[in-house]
Symmetry: D3
């Protein structure tokens, strides 16, 4: 079971706590939401795109006729399995991308897409099989306010540092960024924590108090958990 | 029919207007949303928890090993039927609570939970049978930014004063706080208003103009309403 | 096929790009959302209502007994087919309108309603067959913070200038305002663009790269599009 | 001594409290600051200008060649002694006006100028003998984001309703708007309150406790104040 | 030389860095400014006042006739030498306090006052000999939006946790809060750091590069600093 | 007279209008203020520094021991005469730089410094002879929230695109960025416009109406201006 496989089974909340234990307090991308409640879980290494504010003379529609335009180039270069993360400076007043580019990413096997701005064609993107996260829908073309500049450099996204290769994990709650150097240990610990949380949830649903159980300061809680794991093979 | 029973049948909008008539202009908790469109109506007395900003030395994960930690203590002490209201200083950048604590509250018979911050494990909370309201999902553990301090003291939540025992009413729109001293009269008046609004809605759906009907400045409107009430036994 | 018919088949994103080409960069109403994911498409000429901040002495509940109150008057005067657009100064802390007025508008044949504030009775409005857009739900009566003042004057809504008669187009993403003077040409161009975007989406779904296709800098793309149009009669 | 004379001797804080006693809770223009610490006190009736968002085709620089352009017309029509109040929708990203127009207003005998946006040429305006208030400096011409539309209609400014003829009072703290109908009584009461506050300040500077003094629940405080007034002829 | 004496000679920036070294990243009160550029340095233990949102029925002007009203009581009880810190929930739309109360605090020997809201009578407070910090001026009486509730409990102020007895340090830049438990060591280290920063500033003004000097990775820098200290007796 | 010489005599407002005429609507750095009212005018080519959000493991204080740390390196490499512009993502909650680095820049002959965040040691920086602009003072070390990453790449600063070599102009109002390609023509036109504005200001101060004068639609205005220029040799 790879780190990615493990991370596909844990929540962003659990991963955030595992990182908090190691002194990482700011790895949850703020104010970014899944476009669809039903979209699959997101796991993959970050591939980034950096936007700066658009300037009118540099951003007519004709720029897209250049095959080397960074937005289009990035869409064609993002590796399959990677997560396309855009630094839109938290500005959703013009789009970060639209459904055609997002569909192309999906067809190329990209794992998902995240912007701290907004997508256009958001109802269409919400129907795609690929997970997507943004702040809010935004119809205006990206050229209105954003100029694509750099591909796969370190960026900020929703107040979080995103370095190329960091592991991006998304669920129905939002997105966390796991520094590449600790991805394995976070995956391991989060997997363990998830087993414990599942156990606790079961017990709480049976009516048990959280005192002594969560965290398991009572010996009984630890014993019960050990038995529970054994019984379930986890 | 108790005040609570009556309030279960009226909307937060109607209750807000009944309070506006008495000079209460600021009883709607701002920017707080139901986690699920299908959650039941929320009515109950406020039981509060106050957070202040977390300080790193006081908020390692180990604090939860203390059974007297205010967050955990509050979860075990909140009376059945009460509404657990958290003052998170409108900060959703770290969680106010997660699904295990919310499940425990539900199992203990608590009526619902409201924070002006955000919940973690929000997709799981959205599946629970207990109504929950927050600003937006937030994966980071509450220790990242919040320190639980006081149980059942007057607080602010979403710019509204919440005094322990105030009656909290929530629906698909949001949450209003009814001062305990006027809960009975608001329940009575809102019940009456709801009957009238139902009547008006019916008439408007039949094609009638709102002029003279809403408010009923025409005598005909008042007569029709009287007949309507009689016919429906309301 | 009228301009309105055409606009009913294009997205706000496409219309925004057509306007961007003509130098209109700010026609998307910011931070305004459909109340229901299933509501029909919105197209119609703007009919406006202007609010200013409420003053306590001028806004008791009794003002609604005046049949000439601008909010009520506007609801009865908005022409069938028009879009009722409210300037709430982007303030959702009190309602712009509630379900009874919105139902009346619907019964009168109005095409839809947009506010840059919030609606009360929002769950009921979400069930109506008429499209509605706002910032977020808001239970308090509009008198709490808004005073209706002017009917059908130029306003701002979500940072966009809305002149009476401008063409308002809304979809699942949000709302754009098309200046009346260019509505016909935008409708024409957006219709053309939509055909091309549908073609591109089909090709991308078949696995083609966006380079040379979107925009169609390759001759092959242009040829394929010509064939596609012919085959589909678009 | 006219109401205006009286208001020239009281603070905005005192006037705000006199209004609060009468149920007016929202008459302080929020987030508006004097351009100069040394500017004179501001008192006069409101003369208003309403802006809406600018649209590119309607706001080239050439619009100013029209003598009937509302911004220029308003500057020439504002009565001497009045206060020029601009509704800039709290948007300081482009200017509300610049030093030439403000100088013209000053030369015409206008009492002062207030915008909830920003002024350009703000260092020059700060040197003028006329009081001016804004949110923050803003170099871009107003045409960039603002279109002047209506002259002397009711507006919002900094979240306050401003009706033409309301009495605007400004000091080093900011600006309050006194509804015309109560200006006389507010002037009277604020004058009285100011005498009392001056007395209290003197006593507090002599070392007296505020308890029993402010408010004067002790008989001694009331006696001392009576004597103080007599001695000072206030 | 006491810790307080030392802290009177260091900047908030230096104290913030000394705390950063110990893992305290969030001790600078955000968005709070000195009322006067000339006010003295502020050092003293925190004495706190907690506000919650005001409710209309509980906050008529007559509440101040009660000598036990927490705001007035706190003003009379704050110990000489302490710093009066108010949790106004970062809301400057109504005042936290006015010049009479602040003057009383000054006369009682209190070291200074800080709110994350705003003061009324701010021009008068700016003239007092006691340092004061707020977000922005605010004329409306505190009863408009704030209800004083608790005296000397832990609070949040400008997103910082403030525990009674924490050491508050303010200069022309703003205010930092030093946890009581580390105040001595921070005072010591900040004093040392200040000596070094003074040395570096002198060298930089003489034209030296910061490389190798700041931090002193070059041996020469360390030698020069040792000589500098000796020469100046620091 | 070089373009820089010319730009030293014009205001940011005038330069903004000259750019507006050419379709540049967004060249004023938003929400950035001079640290001192007395600082000299700022003119020079942009030299940029890009920050991303800091991550705890990458930003201990020890990073500054590396001479290649981008913040320190940039300070030593910024050319004399250039303007040091920092992309702090509009986040003033930790510092962009402090007085030692700014002093070093000044000693190296740099023309000035601009950040859309905040400076620490701001009272000291305000005393320097070099112009500096920021959002608000900020004591925490930059490592708390900012990681210096790139030197002299295109960035965003206060919502404006800043490309290396663009001409940065600052006065008492704020800062505009002039694209390098149009710097000469903007300098020429702004110089002309300034002459006209000086003429208009003089006439307005003499009591003339702005109608027909500003803009000079009356022939008399144009004649008077011609005479004025001749008389003054401008």
């Amino acid at each position: 079971m790879t780190a990615y496989d493990k991370l596909r089974t844990v929540s962003t909340a659990t991963a955030a706590t595992a990182m908090f234990k190691r002194g990482f307090r700011n790895q949850f991308i703020q104010n970014v939401h899944p476009l669809s409640a039903n979209q699959p879980v997101l796991v993959g290494p970050a591939f980034t795109l950096r936007y700066i504010p658009a300037r009118e003379d540099l951003n007519p529609l004709s720029v897209f006729q250049d095959r080397a335009h960074p937005q289009r180039k990035a869409v064609e270069e993002c590796p399959p399995g990677a997560v396309f993360v855009i630094d839109s400076r938290k500005n959703p007043r013009a789009a970060s991308a639209g459904s055609i580019l997002v569909t192309r990413l999906m067809k190329r096997g990209v794992a998902g897409i995240v912007t701290d701005g907004g997508f256009r064609d958001s109802p269409e993107i919400a129907q795609l099989a690929m997970p997507a996260y943004h702040q809010r829908p935004s119809a205006p073309t990206n050229l209105t306010l954003h100029q694509a500049l750099d591909i796969n450099v370190p960026i900020g996204c929703g107040d979080v540092a995103v370095w190329p290769g960091d592991v991006v994990v998304g669920d129905g709650e939002g997105v966390v960024v796991i520094p590449a150097s600790i991805a394995d240990e976070i995956a391991d610990e989060a997997l363990e924590m998830t087993a414990f949380e599942d156990f606790v949830t079961e017990k709480v649903n049976e009516g048990r108090s959280i005192l002594g159980l969560y965290p398991p300061t009572d010996e009984r809680s630890r014993d019960d958990f050990a038995a529970w794991r054994k019984a379930r093979g986890r």
